[in-house]
Amino acid sequence: MFFKLAYQNAKRSRQENLIYFFTLVIAVASFYIILALENQDVIIYLRTFESEAVEKLFALMPVLYVIALLLIAFLVLFANRYQLDRRSREFGLYMVLGMRRRKLFLQLVTEGAISSCFALVGGIVVGGILSELVSLVTARLVGQGIIGHQLSFSLSAAGCTALAFLVIQCFVSLALGLRMFSRELHELLYGRMSKKQARGTTRGNITTLLVGLVLLGASYTIVLNHFTLAQEQLMFMATMLVAVLLCCIGTLLVIRGSARLIGLVAGSKRSSQTRGLRSFTLRQFQEFIANKPLSITASALLVFFAIVFLAAGASLILSSGRTEAFSVYDLTVMGEDQKVQAALASAELSPYVAELNRMELGYLVHTVKDDRPVVDLDWSGLREKLVAALPAGIPDPGPQQNGYSMLSEDPWELNLLKNLDSRMMIPDLIPQSSYNRLLEAAGLEPLNLASDEATFYFNPQFYPAGQALGGTGLDSLLRETQGDAQAPLRIGTHPLRLAPLPAMKALVADSLFGLAFAIIVPDALFDEQVDPANISVYWNFCIPQALEDEQGLLVPIKAASALLKSSGLAFESYLQNFGRQLFYVIAGSYTLLYLGFLFLIIGSTVLALQFLTQMRQARARYLTLSMLGAKRAQLRRCLHSQVAAYFLLPLALAIASGTVGVWVLLGFMLSLADYGSQLYASAAAVAGVVILIELLYAVAVAKTATHALERYLQKTRTE
């Protein structure tokens, strides 16, 4: 009997209150996803790198677990509180009928456990599917050739999820049960005594609203104007903290203050003269805000953080494609020529070698004078061109003695000028033939320098073309020098003309390779100007295409790496740098996207359940309206406008703050890389996702509220 009652009640909870059940399912799914992270293809793959940095970061995972657990516990607590408040009358009735508290409490816990079991099954299924999808999508994004797929379902994660969720549910039931039983029976039966709403004075509220707007404005101004990467880290953090704090307080004050403003609009003559339920709708909305400004503020801020986190996560994913576009070689070997040649030509290793390129790099002979290196090089011709190209009003900074600083807001010509001033002190040289083999391996046209020509190499890792080189700006500048009488560049006794820039590719497999700038010169000039003692040699090669098509990249690179390791040669593989890069991107974007979605869900759930609770408390009003002749359609419309207004207020604030946040974030990203249009697209996509999810919640709330109202009216009619 007891269990049957509990079972039926739990079933009714699920049917009557989809939002409650859905929230529990989401909570379980989110927790499962975070615990099953270790079974994701990408993570398994990353584990194969026995890198200290990666291990250290993995050790930080429990911190994320705890944060997720706390957030989810809050979600479960909130959903259950709503559910209990909804049924407080029923519990009061049980108690009036003489049910003992202990028994009622036991029943509550049993009901909670039954609901939890259903939510667990649903949540783990949903979480499993989502996890699998994420695993597949990331594997695809990262490159399917690299990762073999395996099923990501994890029994241990499911077990831990179940355990954690049940523990949370028990605690929540306990806390809420104690809270409920400490109330008076009358309160359970007839709801809380209607407390008079302290609506405050008009002037006070308007002041609150204005102060709130000013604080928000101040926060935006700080973020937009005083936020640069050039700041010191401490200063940067402090500025950010102040801005976020101002934004939080500002949002709260705006929401608090707007209640009265809405009251004023509702109370105005014009409003009460308008047909339909307008003044009632406005008064309802005013009451919602006046009663729960804190939770509406919390929702607005959560959605705001969600927007920023999601945008950051999405743009981080986009940045993961960066190295791939530049890298050509899969492995780079260093060592004595004969030894390397022998090893690469060996029967075991040779099947893995294609596009072999013995890349030479060397720097000019220099002498030291006044503690500064001096090389026999003159680039004043080019420098004059650059200075002349500076936008009006910007003076030549002059050769920098002690380093330089690049600022993203400065024009590219100035940044490049400062940069070259420093790079030209002892520039590296690349012989044309080495670079041409690289271009050929990448499937590009080779350079064809005349004996008195040179050009520049800018490592794309450090110089994103659009940002640092002014798009085609530098290229056209180089073309202009061609007709000049004075050679723009001289090395030793050779005056050199400057050829157009070649395509920029990574010189070796490892992207952390630190060479940022070099001059590409004809082979003869290289041999003449570079002392053999100053030459470094890198043996680069690719895995043959046929092998890659057959086995993917991972397997052959690993096999070749093992062979090289046994031969005792120093080597770097594309995968190492790829793994490092991937880990930062994956760990960062997973965390950001995960927290972003969690914030979004929690914010929306708080908003949704709060609305339904208040709507329930005020449902008798709708009966009165209906008695006064309000039509069903009118009531529905009124309810829908309430939901719309109620969701729009925090959403509007969140989007306003979110736009500023994302704007600044994109500013940072753009200064680092060269994929603007994609970034804006991703920001737009994030905004779309947030609005879509809010819309879904609003529709669900409107449907639930309408349904509950119609049932209530029906019930009171037939009684």
């Binding site: 209607s194 008079k196 709403q197 509702a266 109370g267 009460s272 003269q273 308008t274 047909r275 339909g276 339920l277 307008r278 003044s279 009632f280 008064r283 309802q284 005013q286 009451e287 005020a618 008798a620 009003r621 009966l623 009165t624 309206l625 209906s626 008695m627 006064l628 002749g629 309000a630 039509k631 009118q634 009619r717």
Partner: protein, 260 residues
Amino acid sequence: MGNLTKLLEVHDIRKDYGKPDSPTRALRGVSFDVLQGEFLGIMGASGSGKTTLLNCIATIIKPSEGEILLSGENIAHFGGRDLARYRGSRIGYLFQDFELLDNLTGRENILLPLSIHGEKVALAEAKLAELAAFFEIDDVLQRFPTQMSGGQKQRVAAARCLISNPDIVLADEPTGALDTRSARLLMDKLDGSNRQHGTTILMVTHDANAASFCSRILFIQDGVIFHELRRQLPTETRDAYYARILAVMAQLGGGSANVL
């Protein structure tokens, strides 16, 4: 009560609750007319069926049998738009516990029926001022119900009920939640509205004092009309009428049954 047009005609109303094989018969055939400008009371012990009757007229409940005509139109035939019109503007309903919306001001509450029906509220300003003066609620128009006394609330509710010039006011125990003084003031006002403006009122009550304001009283017992009293105007005083009411109530199943 100059003209004798029948405003409301109730023909043989029956209402059963519960299962068809063992029904609870709340109304077992009730028939009466309400004349234009009449102040009719319906009295009876609790469970006698008086509220069921009122709810049938207010279209809150559908009668099992019988018909109710308002100015000759069968209200059972109203559907959708007509029904909403009927509820909001042809009848005014005065509830025992006021049913004011506590997040609207007095003024907004009073104007609500008009805005629900999409009527031009601007035209009703004069009417609102008149009603406010009549019911002595000028000073609470800008207040919220939580800031009003019970009597003020019920008078605001009465003004809301009259704002749309209904054909008939249905009052369900309007004094039930009021103290004696407030009840008296409210009845004075309803009486005044009936006399000065010819408002037709149908009031359900078990308060003999309130009933003594009616020009005619129907007594209901066990779902049928059991007795009818008419005040002998202009000769009979309210006190004498009150005594007659008490006498009938004492007959109605013995004293204590009248206590709710």
